[in-house]
Symmetry: C2
Subunit: 564 residues, 2 copies
Amino acid sequence: MQNNKKHKNHELVKDWIGLIQVFTCPEDAETRTALVGLMRQILFELHDFLIKNVGITEEISLKILADDFTDTVINRCPEKKLADVVTGVFDHIAPHAVNVASPYFVGHMTAAIPYFMVHLKAIVAALNQNVVKLETSKVVSVLEKQVVAKIHRLIFNLSDEFYAEHVQNTDTSLGSFMEGGTTANLTALWVARNTALRPKDGFSGIEKKGMMAAYKAYDIDRCVVLVSKRAHYSFRKAGGLLGIGNENIIPVDVDGNNKLKIDALENTIAEIKREGRTKIIAVVGIAGTTETGTVDPLKEIAAICARENIHFHTDAAWGGPTLLSDKYKHLLDGIHLADSVTIDGHKQFYMPMGCGMIYFKNPKSLDAISYHANYVNRRGSVDLGIKTLAGSREANSLILDSALKIMGARGYGMLIEHGIELAADFAEEIKQRDMFQLITEPELNILTYRVCPPELREEMKTADPVRFIKINDELNELNRTIQQEQREAGKSFVSRTVLEQENIFPGSPAGKIVVLRSVLMNPLTNIEILKDILDEQEGLYDMWRNGTLGHEKARKDTDRHGME
Amino acid sequence: MQNNKKHKNHELVKDWIGLIQVFTCPEDAETRTALVGLMRQILFELHDFLIKNVGITEEISLKILADDFTDTVINRCPEKKLADVVTGVFDHIAPHAVNVASPYFVGHMTAAIPYFMVHLKAIVAALNQNVVKLETSKVVSVLEKQVVAKIHRLIFNLSDEFYAEHVQNTDTSLGSFMEGGTTANLTALWVARNTALRPKDGFSGIEKKGMMAAYKAYDIDRCVVLVSKRAHYSFRKAGGLLGIGNENIIPVDVDGNNKLKIDALENTIAEIKREGRTKIIAVVGIAGTTETGTVDPLKEIAAICARENIHFHTDAAWGGPTLLSDKYKHLLDGIHLADSVTIDGHKQFYMPMGCGMIYFKNPKSLDAISYHANYVNRRGSVDLGIKTLAGSREANSLILDSALKIMGARGYGMLIEHGIELAADFAEEIKQRDMFQLITEPELNILTYRVCPPELREEMKTADPVRFIKINDELNELNRTIQQEQREAGKSFVSRTVLEQENIFPGSPAGKIVVLRSVLMNPLTNIEILKDILDEQEGLYDMWRNGTLGHEKARKDTDRHGME
């Protein structure tokens, strides 16, 4: 009898009563204390554990690790209680997870989050509202409209009257939360496509009739989107998905600073117009490229788009929150001229995965993708699911709203400033070291460089193209190896990518350059840590020269291939 | 000095030191205790509060509520600390949120979740792994492949050898986690489209070349997808998005039990073939329709698809977990014959929002949508982002894996059985009451019915079509009103939809019928609660007949329109 009444947290869910109990908030103090204790472990012990296990350890290879995850039968009986699951996270997950929160982890856009984010995510889960419709979210839908208006205002800065009219307007939409930047960019191009090929006399629009009918109605053979060569791969994906064809996402040349070349854009547009029978449905500018953190000349792109009547989308998934820094918001000059803007919450808003957002200057733009059903998202309702790719989704807007209140614009501004200034300092440090070559100067808080010993650097300056390419290939192999070895040593992490870069020495030919990429968004990262990382890379280079790195490498058959 | 060292949880983030502190796990016991105390509030007090505030209260209208959410300026300075945010959730969010966890809330597919889900979501946030690539997730990517294989096995039940080969195979994929059922259905049709219009001699495939080029290469004018009239609206959305055109998502007739009619499917296929120049890229069967919970004749559809060489997709977003009940898994007979299957984690796996999943029988199917980039998702890697619509995303697989271990297949099976058997009991209760008419018999755990007073019911049986429609219109208005009034009374909630239904009396004409829809997935809901809900509806009918409901209605100018 006592067993039935008492909520025993340490028992398996073995019968109907046990099952009912996991749906019922426990009344007894003992169980409540046990459940809170588990939260304490998640909040602190997990964090403490990860601090001690920085970086990506390779003590166990991916192949051996994977051998522990091969059972594919779902057990009929419960095998764990919640406490066991938490223990299991400590024993089997955390040791082989990646400590993205480490200040030595400066290779990716996934980083440390403030601890209060875990509380906020727990609130979202505890409320479990579904923002697809008002009937399962009510106030949270209203809140989402408000947060969306706040970020819209940050980007577009329209009039008080505009925001008063639209913030809670059930007929209009200033933007939406979604899974990530990829779906945000997709949504932007979806809207641009549907707007370019909208209903007209005798044609009820591409969304309804499809691509073939649309091309006939508009008497064209092709749609294209023009993007910087440095654009995120999600645009190609969106092109494929939308039926445009991903080869019609046309890369436009960038200059030596990785910025979209305005004359190349003009030439591409002119060429497409000469060819004819092609519609340019959007031009994309980037505010913080994934690889180099570069901001495209947004103002100039906007002027061209306005003249040509083309949708101008800005991918500010990375750089968007720069607008919260009074000191550096000018770096995004012209973003308010965009027709749509992508920003990621899980990047420089320091939110947990996965939170993307899309914003449209015109509050009617999202009408181009609206859908209704009898049982949900009825016409004229506040139901947010009417104008989103997703159906059911979680209330991440609650997290951003709370985070903005806890941090203030100024708090986020300080984080932005720290990153940008630390990147500038790091660039200076790299330039001062003989062993390194800075490949892309930081504009925001991302830079790329490579290990490039002085003797090879000198030789490259005067080498003929054949020899130049040979040395470059050698450097590529060297940098690939050093990045892998450093990652596997488990103390620190920079990422690597390949840039097609010309003029890295005056007049040098274009070539594929393997670069080390550093993303500086963790406030705990400082110049001393970055110097340590460079020191370690210099040490690895010494080993490479002595042939000890090759030996090490041959011994491992791990996930080298997997990570390439 | 002490201030710098001590981590004061009760201070605003007002300077750089405060900012650093929110990224640093507090060392002092006082702050840790405060943070855990907030988690306690989130875990228990929030739940206790919601229990007391069941349903969707309308004490404050949506319009008045929205008036509190109109400020659109982000404060420069921090205005709240975490404790204030939690208090704010209690004061301003929870009272106007929807208590989806209430056993009286039986109208939607968003329901109660076991309390351990909040812990699991907190773990996901605390680890903050990004499953797009191995470098930011490592073991979690490996774990996701395992969980995916477990659910794949549940659906398709292939050989031990098959799962041994594919569970951790980096070249193949058995499925993927994603935001929701909508993206899962979209992914299925995306793969089906790309497979139907794949590369061949002189044509490099639709994904690359686009729809127009594909239609030319395959010498067709149109692609279509055949779906039940009861299919989820996400298929139309996918049709629009993919460039197929949403009017080419062709609804196929259903029978009196809302199941796709096999002869109608055959006729539609034959007709399309006669017309020519059209490719049927997929047929969709549903395992648990959104409105009525019906399962389509999956085996028969599979046989036709096999004969015609068409991709067979099954949308089991709702019904999928029925496979975990030994007693009722036969209701999904034939699902293993599908080429792809959608299942939602946030529905009958009782996970928090938002977790969709897609599964493909053929481990190579997802190759049709693979994307790569220099800095991520390199060829041949384990990077899960290669074959997903999303880029960055959170590690919800960790939640499902843990939940399966805590609940066991048997635990989920008991939940399924409870829902199905309760729905059957509820149907009996409805049939026994003179005031109600059961519109769709439950097959799984969803049923629809309406208030239909005996005198009108008798008259309808013999009424001529004109009179029949007039009475039906009147009943529609009555049921619409009762559903709204009950929702706004805030004690309980059933949803409503409109079904096109014929033969609701022998020989009666087809008509649009407003029905009350009941979704029974909460283990705390029982027949007594459902009787209460019917009693309340009978009471509302009495008020309607006395004219007191109309009065009440006219007085309110709230979100009636908003909810329609």
